[in-house]
């Protein structure tokens, strides 16, 4: 049965130091609030997975939570690079960061393979790319019918996937809509699944019979966190704060400015509540 917990209790229970965690969201529905709570609880040595690590991963990396990152595009969308991620990779600040770099196609297929209980995914990709030379988790197999070489990557099976969604009903069934990204696959691929939602409702109000719904028995815990994706957005609830994404570049560029911002907006902000 799904538990309904506070964010603090959920992160304390489900995030262990050293575990492999995906906080997914493809620009939309990024679980910022959950990431901030991980930072506040000073989790360490995490292996983070995400196709598009953006600001919340930059913050977790800069605050020293992360040992390794499996990713395909790590930047501030439309703005530039992630300065905290760069600082960790280029200067080991605040600590070194191991990278496993893939393409989007590879990681999308790897999550889908995880959701499907397969050990690996096959797809047509990586032809001629130097990523093959630096990532031992990219291999090739031969189609047993045509002989064509196809790329293979191991399935992703996070210890925990955290996603944000529009709403859950009181049984814990969860609805996602809009740009749903790879969240359903990331959830179904994980051993445990934590979902933050804008609201908990009597009636899920799925827009149609084929809407993206995760049944309660696929989910470990639901946490109500209004605005839990901000400055990312929740389709039907609030928009993306593009101005904040732009402003982040200057904040993150400088170590001191970054630490001061985190202190004020993430660490203190919550402890004052």
């Amino acid at each position: 049965m799904t538990s309904f917990l506070s964010l603090q209790a959920a992160i304390a229970e489900y995030v262990q130091d050293g575990s492999t965690i995906a906080l997914e969201g493809f620009t939309h529905l990024i679980p910022f609030a959950a990431g901030h709570e991980i930072i506040r609880q000073q989790k360490r040595d995490l292996c983070l997975i995400r196709m598009t690590p953006d600001l919340i991963y930059d913050q977790m990396i800069g605050m020293g939570c992360v040992r390794k990152l499996i990713f395909s595009w790590g930047g501030n969308p439309g703005v530039g690079t992630l300065h905290r991620l760069r600082d960790a990779v280029e200067h080991d600040w605040p600590q070194s960061l191991e990278l496993e770099e893939h393409s989007h196609a590879a990681l999308a297929n790897a999550y889908a393979a995880g959701a499907a209980g397969l050990p690996c995914a096959i797809f047509r990709g990586y032809q001629g790319s130097d990523l093959v030379k630096v990532n031992p988790n990219i291999r090739f197999i031969q189609c047993p019918f045509t002989g064509e070489q196809l790329a293979a990557v191991p399935a992703l099976r996070p210890d925990l996937t955290i996603i944000h969604a529009q709403r859950a009903d009181r049984s814990g069934n969860v609805l996602l809509e809009g740009i749903i990204g790879v969240q359903k696959e990331a959830a179904l691929a994980a051993r445990r699944v934590l979902v933050t939602v804008e609201e908990i409702v009597d009636d899920l109000r799925a827009p149609g019979p084929n809407a993206a719904v995760l049944p309660h028995w696929t989910i470990s815990a639901v946490v109500q966190v209004p605005n839990g994706a901000y400055p990312s957005y929740t389709h039907g609830y609030y928009g993306r704060d593009n101005a904040f994404y732009t402003a982040w570049d200057a904040i993150a560029r400088d170590r001191e400015a970054f630490l001061a911002w985190m202190q004020e907006h993430v660490l203190v902000a919550r402890s004052m509540k």
Binding site: S129, L131, G181, N227, Y237, N242
Partner: protein, 263 residues
């Protein structure tokens, strides 16, 4: 009407798009070019963003690949695995756009690192969808500013494969799509030379000299036997592009602070 080199770049890229194209759009210059094409000569062009939005018609340029307006104006929005499986790998995209930190003479692109891969001088964002966009779209157009930092003798790392070492290297790898058939820069247009597949200059933008192109290219760049002059932007093109930018500016500076749901 005066215009900037970047405006010329966007307009030149928009012009090659056709009404019946199905485009895999990237953020920045490609999104600018694709939406300009849609607002000018190609009203029915299908724009697809890798976030899963198919047939989208945003009124402003998205800042990110998954801005709210993309799915709000889309015909349909699919999951990201479906996008890469059924739509990109399925061979349904006619034109893909690519950019990157470095480009070499054979259209290979580096979006991963400057310097050594394991100990990079600059860690770049990575390829995202590009490695497979490069091989699976019918053809790709590269849109990039041209200078000695970006147009290099040899890329530090091939994130996305173009023509490899030239010739039929692409076919040797079993890739059946055309590859980068056009590069649009702030100075000129380049196309692969038949046979060698080396990128050569085929059109110079107004008031750009050959020397300027040579000076801004990290390899001994060659010119096509006949080099055309890119038509300057029309008033229509410039007006529509600038209106698009003005709308975009306004949309992205307003803060969209979260608020309680009102419905």
């Amino acid at each position: 009407m005066e215009y900037s080199a970047l405006e010329m770049m966007a307009i030149a890229a928009a012009r090659v798009l056709k009404n019946e194209d199905v485009c895999f759009v990237g953020i920045g210059a490609p999104s600018e070019a694709c939406n300009l094409a849609r607002l000018t000569h190609a009203p029915d062009i299908t724009l697809i963003y890798e976030s899963g939005t198919i047939g989208t018609r945003p009124a402003v340029l998205p800042l990110s690949i998954g801005d709210p307006e993309l799915s709000e104006t889309a015909l349909t929005t699919v999951s990201v695995p479906e996008m890469f499986q059924y739509w990109l790998q399925g061979g349904r995209i006619s034109v893909g756009f690519l950019g990157g930190a470095q480009l070499d003479r054979f259209g290979n692109i580096n979006s991963s690192v400057i310097g050594d891969y394991q100990r990079p001088k600059v860690r770049l964002p990575g390829g995202g969808g590009a490695p497979e966009i490069a091989s699976q779209c019918g053809q790709t157009y590269i849109v990039m500013r041209q200078n000695r930092r970006t147009f290099v003798e040899q890329v530090d790392f091939i994130t996305s494969f173009g023509y490899g070492r030239g010739g039929d290297h692409r076919q040797q790898l079993g890739i059946t799509t055309l590859g980068p058939t056009l590069v649009v820069t702030d100075l000129c247009l380049l196309r692969p030379e038949p046979g060698t597949h080396e990128l050569i200059v085929t059109s110079l933008h107004q008031r750009v000299t050959r020397e300027e192109v040579v000076r801004n290219t990290g390899w001994p760049i060659r010119f096509a036997p006949v080099v055309e002059q890119t038509q300057p932007p029309t008033i229509d093109e410039l007006t529509i592009l600038r209106e698009l930018h003005a709308r975009t500016e306004q949309a992205h500076t307003g803060k969209a602070l979260p608020h309680v749901r009102t419905d």
